[in-house]
Amino acid sequence: MTDIAVNTKRAKKAQAGPYGKVGQALNGLDDRLGVAKGGRTFMDKIFPDHWSFMLGEIALYSFVVLLVTGIFLTLYYVPSSSIVTYHGPYLPLDGQKFSEAYASSINLSFSVRAGLLMRQMHHWACDIFVGSIVVHMCRVFFTGAFRKPRELNWSIGLTLLTLAIVNGFIGYSLPDDLVSGTGIRIAYSIILSIPVVGTHLAFWLFGGNFPGTVILGRFYAIHILILPLVILGLVGAHLGLLVRQKHTQFPGEGRTEKNVVGSPMFPIFMAKTTGFLFLVGGAIALLGAFAQINPIWQFGPYDNIAKISYAVQPDWYMGFLDGALRIFPAWSFHSFGYTIPIEVLFPAVILPGIVFTLGYLWPNLEARITKDDEIHNLLDRPRDRPHRTAAGAGILSLLFMLFIASSTDVIANYMHISLNEVLIAMRVLVLVSPFIGYAVAYYICKELQGVEKAGKRKTHNIVTRTATGEYVTVAAPMNVNDMHAELHAVPVPNYIEDDAVAASASSTAGVRTVDR
């Protein structure tokens, strides 16, 4: 009897094949979808190990946090501008009347378990999402990763940045607090400034004159459904192209245009990147726990449209627009019975339009200027492309100065100088900063080019005295733990007896002997 039982077990095991139940399941999947070959290739996909490739991962994982916390928030937020009387644990607002949107935002902050944490995490994740996209794009730009064949993915990335900024602004507007309400008012006026169609666009979007009653509902649909779907689709396309075209990599030992060096997808990269997902999530959770952000209960509701407060600054990624609006001169154009509000149109519509259009066109512009139609998989060091690096630095300087200009009132107040002086200083700085940024970056690149092996890891020198009394200096071997992308160790410069070294006939590369 026992023999039969054993035989059955064995038979079952033999039937299952060498890889057991998992193998069986995979075979079943392959029968239907034919995934075995592609799946194997995908599991072997190599990811470069350089730290700068994690910037895009930060963006991806903060987007994951956005989705998770956002789903939580939708369960409690009510996109309605109808007026309710608030009764709840936040006593300063108890008994007051304001919009249901604001009331539900207050409620989810104070009455829903983990609600405040989720709201703050959502807001932090958004700021980090946009920030990491910007830094990731800087990496892609300065190393030339956007070049052929990756121009399309560059455009997708730039579109993702635009959508992230727009959706961030819309989400920031949903609580209907005093500060965000003012932000919506400004957005309305910016749309109004567009010639010919501006008033119609504004009336279509808001269902009439500001504020109307439909905008919160429409913003809600855009914020939680339309734009997240588009962003999700584009993120999929972004990653799909990345897998199809494979990663770029920095030059280094064994690295060519024809290969990728790094860690394979499964299990090494998967372990590291999943760990990184937890790290990003954990960091955002700690920020949400300990760093207060957007305390809407302190701002008060946007119930009385005539109210406003001092130091109204938008989220950081809108800062460059706000700064441009502050410092642009009051040039309004009237003619033939029509008005073109250039004082709004240029800083808020035309200027960002120019910057983003330049971004979209850059890969083609650069290829045309450098007459470069080659496929590039190896990255540039920024210093080796000084004009590109300088151009990027110029644009970043301009945007940074505009961002600073969004705090003219705070600067004037804090430094006890007149607002007028701050304004004029910011105008000058904004105009000259791109040129200064360009020049400084260009000369730094040129200087770095002149320094041989700059940026390479250094090792110690070992000085030994031989039996005959001769001193020999040798570069120490590289620490095993430092073995990374570096090709060869560079000895620390040896300034001792340089002349003697030059005179010494026995000196060879890496070994210097000095006779005493």
């Binding site: 378990r113 400004i186 998967m270 760990g275 790290l279 999530g281 005539a306 109210k307 008005t339 590289m478």
Partner: protein, 311 residues
């Protein structure tokens, strides 16, 4: 085996288990495993604490601290596992050209250009009609979709609810008497009957300021608009429509908190600083027989920011 060979990347799938590339990077794998285990145990504990905090409805920061701390520990442990205990590499994979062979390219182009183009060329009328149909449908479908989103602007942006003889009331609906404001004070006013209407307020909001008579530089044609030192200006900034809510009493300036445009209230609210392109429109006032402030008339120009149809 020299160090140099260690760093020469190899193929992951073809590397043997004894290959130095397949060894963990950690010098002391057992110790590293122990350290990672401790991290995971601590993370486990923090997650349990997170559940407990949630259960007892503890404050938001304890929830975030336990959850975030747990995630961080888990993350550090997992990254360390991948970095120190898994094959250290480096590994390499070949990259294949995206471009297909020239035969495949030609065949593909021929399919599109000859087969596809040929079909259209053979039936030009059908092609044109199809294009026209789709074009008309797109226009017809898009236009009403947009059009029904909101009304036409009409004169909505050109007029306010300030009419002839309208009483000035504050936000509680109380009429403003000529004795109510001392010199140097300011109050936000609305036309009577619209003080509780957000939609109306977005256009009607007006700031009433009392200044000493001798400070006022009267604009031509506005000689009677400011009785007894009372002047009223639209509170909508001519830059972007923020409420111009900060009144600098000493300087007699109205300051917009959004972008710091400043308007000289003694001189027709002409902007003397900042991005606002126009003075704030002034509301002509008079004092009625009972001593209440009323509007002689509505604003004589559109209030708020600029737009195309504004004359």
């Amino acid at each position: 085996m020299s160090e140099h060979e260690h760093r020469e990347p190899v193929s992951f799938s073809r590397a043997k288990a004894t290959d130095p590339h397949m060894q963990p990077a950690a010098k002391d794998p057992v110790g590293m495993e122990r350290r990672i285990a401790i991290l995971f145990i601590l993370a486990f504990g923090l997650f349990a604490a997170f559940g407990a905090c949630y259960w007892v409805n503890a404050s938001a920061w304890t929830l975030g601290a336990t959850m975030g701390g747990g995630l961080l520990l888990l993350g550090v442990g997992l990254v360390a596992w991948g970095k120190y205990l898994m094959p250290k590499g480096p590994f390499v994979e070949e990259r294949h050209d995206m471009a297909s062979s020239s035969e495949d390219r030609d065949a593909f182009a021929a399919t599109i250009v000859e087969r596809g183009g040929g079909i259209v060329k053979r039936r030009p009328v059908l092609g044109g009609l199809l294009g026209a149909g789709v074009g008309v449908f797109s226009l017809v479908a898009i236009f009403p979709l947009l059009r029904s989103l909101g009304p036409n602007p009409g004169n909505t942006l050109l007029v306010t609810d300030w009419k002839k003889k309208a009483h000035l009331v504050d936000s509680t609906g109380r009429r403003i008497h000529v004795d109510d404001l001392s010199i140097g004070s300011a109050v936000t006013v609305f036309p009577k009957g619209y003080e509780n209407d957000d939609q109306a307020q977005s256009m009607d909001q007006t700031i009433l300021i009392r200044i000493a008579d001798h400070d006022i530089t009267t604009q031509k044609g506005r000689e009677t608009w400011g009785p007894q030192g009372y002047v009223a200006y639209s509170k909508l900034c001519t830059h972007l429509g923020c409420p111009v809510g900060l009144y600098e009493r000493e300087l007699k300036l109205l300051v917009c908190p959004c972008h710091q445009s400043m308007f000289d209230v003694t001189n027709g609210a002409i902007p003397n600083f900042g991005p606002a392109p126009r003075p704030l429109p002034q509301l002509p006032l008079y004092v009625d027989s009972e001593g209440y402030l009323r509007a002689q008339n509505g604003f004589d120009e559109p209030v708020g920011p600029g737009f195309w149809e504004r004359k």
